[in-house]
């Protein structure tokens, strides 16, 4: 009872409601603008949360995340340009529907399935996070060491594109995370005598540099693409249509939950799996790809089902599942909190206040999403030549605000160039960021294990939990190697076929 009062006291604050509403609005707005991503918005919003209460700060970022997931579908449906990679699947049926004059129906289908999937995902988060955290209380340093190894390998093995590049990105991230004073001996590591680097590389300039600046550089480097006008016309979705899509929405949501709970898989995979599952089971399968409302609903359910589930490994184990949860982990740290099983013991009220806020965000998404269909499609009409200078201003202000130092602006620009080079060379930025976050945890748990065991290496194979994590770590490496050779053979065969032709 005492806990409940504390939870309600923490949650029932006007700041929290404003933060959720504002977060969802920002997320939907940014998500509906092609070129601006939810990741970029979460990174840019992080400096604004410094002076906020932890619950309101996290809810603002979660709101942006959820709003961004739905916002991406607006432009996918209206102008065939997904606002986020995960919305790419939505356009398969959404855009043909818009061409047939049913844009409003497609947008409503996307909204309702997003909200239902988000709700189911939140329920999964509430049930599984606490359960997983309870199990994780039995973990010591060696178990966490292997858990981090597994997280690193699974993120790399499931990352899109080249596995070698994913590994290189993660290694570069780990290397950069080690810059600064060594936590055990206090010796300087790659600081080159620069006192600004002694306290390690600042997370926020790195984040903004890596995810916002490359988009800006690219925009001014690239040839101008003609602007397409967006228009949401036609009639909305009927209750009968929603009922018809319900099975696909629920199945898609569950697919999203399962995929989201595994670090590294992401919303794009969930959306495509959910879509293909719905197509396989639907009596209207012939209409899929030609403007089938069930296709839009399934894709969006898979996409949004991931949102709550990605928070499961973050809150219960302290392991970020994707880039946005990595940024949210940074926000926790800025506010002096460390997600993981200990947080469930020490800050249980805060966690349940967060859960309430996350549930409430689904409702806000429904309200904001409805308005978005009418008005937010107009946002996609704002020229990027006006938007990007303003985004750059937010980047600079945000980077400077961390430590009130121009050095951080330099750092942000340097990482911006790194991010741009990553884009140009096809090196993924997500494993780099995950490596940067998990690197210190990896080293810390390794050293703690060695200290506990007085240097005895057998501590790393001390029991069933470590054996389990060792098995799944090597399993994910084996999967990555298998995928590497499979991709290589596919490409070689395709090349051979082209040459023969």
């Amino acid at each position: 009872m005492e806990n409940l009062t504390e939870v309600l006291q923490l949650f029932l604050s006007i700041d929290n409601f404003i933060a959720i509403a504002l977060g969802v609005v920002i997320g939907v707005t940014v998500g509906s603008i092609p070129g601006l991503t939810a990741t970029m918005a979460v990174a840019l919003a992080l400096p604004f949360t410094f002076s906020m209460q932890p619950v309101a700060a996290i809810l603002l970022l979660v709101g942006i995340y959820k709003g961004g997931m739905y916002g991406g579908s607006i432009t996918a449906i209206l102008i065939r340009t997904p606002g986020s990679p995960a919305s790419a699947c939505t356009l398969l049926d959404g855009y043909p529907m818009a061409q047939q004059g049913n844009a409003k129906k497609a947008l409503k289908a996307a909204l309702f399935s997003s909200v239902i999937a988000d709700f189911i995902s939140n329920i999964a988060l509430i049930f599984f996070a606490a359960y997983l955290a309870k199990i994780a209380l039995n973990f010591g340093a060696p178990e966490f060491f292997w858990l981090i190894c597994f997280s690193l390998t699974i993120i790399i093995s499931l990352a899109s594109g080249s596995m070698v590049k994913g590994l290189l990105a993660a290694l570069l991230g780990i290397l950069l995370s080690l810059v600064g004073l060594d936590s055990v001996f206090g010796s300087q590591r790659l600081t080159f005598g620069n006192y600004n680097l002694m306290d390690s590389i600042s997370f926020i300039p790195l984040l903004i540099g890596l995810f916002a600046i490359p988009e800006i550089i690219e925009f001014y480097r690239k040839k101008v693409i003609p602007h397409i006008k967006a228009k949401a016309s036609g009639v909305g979705m009927t209750l009968a249509e929603l009922k018809r899509c319900m099975k696909s929405i629920v199945r898609g949501s569950l697919i999203g939950v399962i995929i989201g709970a595994i670090p590294g898989t992401g919303a794009t995979a969930a959306a495509f799996i959910s879509y293909s599952d719905a197509r396989r089971r639907s009596p209207n399968k012939a209409n899929f790809g030609k403007g089938e409302v069930e296709g839009v609903a399934a894709a969006e359910a898979g996409n949004n089902g991931v949102a709550g589930a990605t928070l499961i490994p973050l809150l219960s184990l302290g392991i970020p599942g994707d880039v946005i949860t990595a940024i949210i982990l940074g926000a926790f740290m800025v506010h002096g909190l460390t997600p993981g099983p200990i947080m469930f013991q020490e800050n249980l009220s805060l966690i349940y206040a967060l859960f309430l806020g996350i549930m409430f965000s689904s409702l806000i998404l429904l309200v904001v999403g409805n308005a978005a269909i009418k008005y937010f499609s107009l946002i996609a009409d704002i020229p990027k030549s006006i938007l990007f200078p303003i985004v750059l201003m937010f980047c600079v202000y945000g980077a400077y605000a961390v430590n009130n130092m121009t050095f951080d602006i330099w750092l942000m620009l340097a990482f911006g160039v790194v991010g741009y080079l990553f884009n140009r060379t096809g090196i993924p930025a997500a494993p780099f960021l995950i490596g940067f976050i998990l690197g210190p945890m990896f080293e810390d748990n390794l050293r703690r294990s060695l200290l506990i065991s007085n240097g005895d290496m057998s501590i790393f194979v001390r029991g069933p939990i470590t054996w389990f994590f060792i098995a799944i770590t090597f399993g994910s490496i084996a999967f990555a190697v298998f995928r590497f050779f499979k991709d290589r053979n596919t490409k070689l065969n395709a090349d051979k076929l082209t040459n023969e032709t």
Binding site: Y220, K223, N404, T425, L450
Partner: protein, 166 residues
């Protein structure tokens, strides 16, 4: 270029991967052989070599070296998907890019001396001119946004920013 040179280039399936691999190979060699031994201090007595501040950077450097070699090999033997290659962009005029660079330097060099508002206005106007924005009223945003956002940071969010040069 002689015919043998041309056939060598043809033999490489993804030139960009090979170049990236070579750059990373050089970086990893500099790291492993020069930066880690010279710029990471190590205590004289260690309970276990794995406790050393140099241990993880060393391992990571050698792993980068190994994977950069793998990337070079991948670039030589695995062809790139030329049609769906997201790495390639159609470049626009250089003038626009140069103005953007100037705007970035305005932020870095004058942020503390001129203050957030003036540098914000200057850089935003430069970026509007770079593309260029031809709607005159849009330039009002170039003034309104830096003023509004700076005041939001300073007065509402309590995040201190240098306001003005005086």
């Amino acid at each position: 270029m002689s015919s043998s040179d041309l056939s060598n280039v043809k033999r490489i399936k993804d030139t960009l991967d090979v170049i990236t691999g070579i750059v990373l190979l050089v970086v990893s060699l500099v790291l492993a052989l020069y930066l880690v031994p010279n710029y990471i201090g190590e205590p004289s007595i260690l309970q276990n070599p794995m406790m050393s501040p140099r241990w993880l950077p060393n391992i990571v450097s050698w792993l980068i070296l190994a994977f950069s070699i793998l990337l070079i090999i991948q670039g030589i033997i695995v062809p790139s998907d030329t049609e769906n290659d997201e790495r390639k962009i159609v470049k626009g005029p250089y003038r626009r890019f140069v103005i953007m660079l100037i705007a970035l330097f305005v932020y870095v060099l004058f942020f503390e001396s001129l203050g957030a508002i003036l540098t914000g206005i200057l850089a935003t106007v430069l970026l509007f001119l770079a593309h260029p924005v031809r709607v005159w009223w849009a330039y009002g945003f170039a003034i309104a946004f830096p003023v509004g956002v700076t005041l939001l940071f300073v007065n509402v969010m309590n995040v201190p920013l240098p306001l003005m040069p005086f």
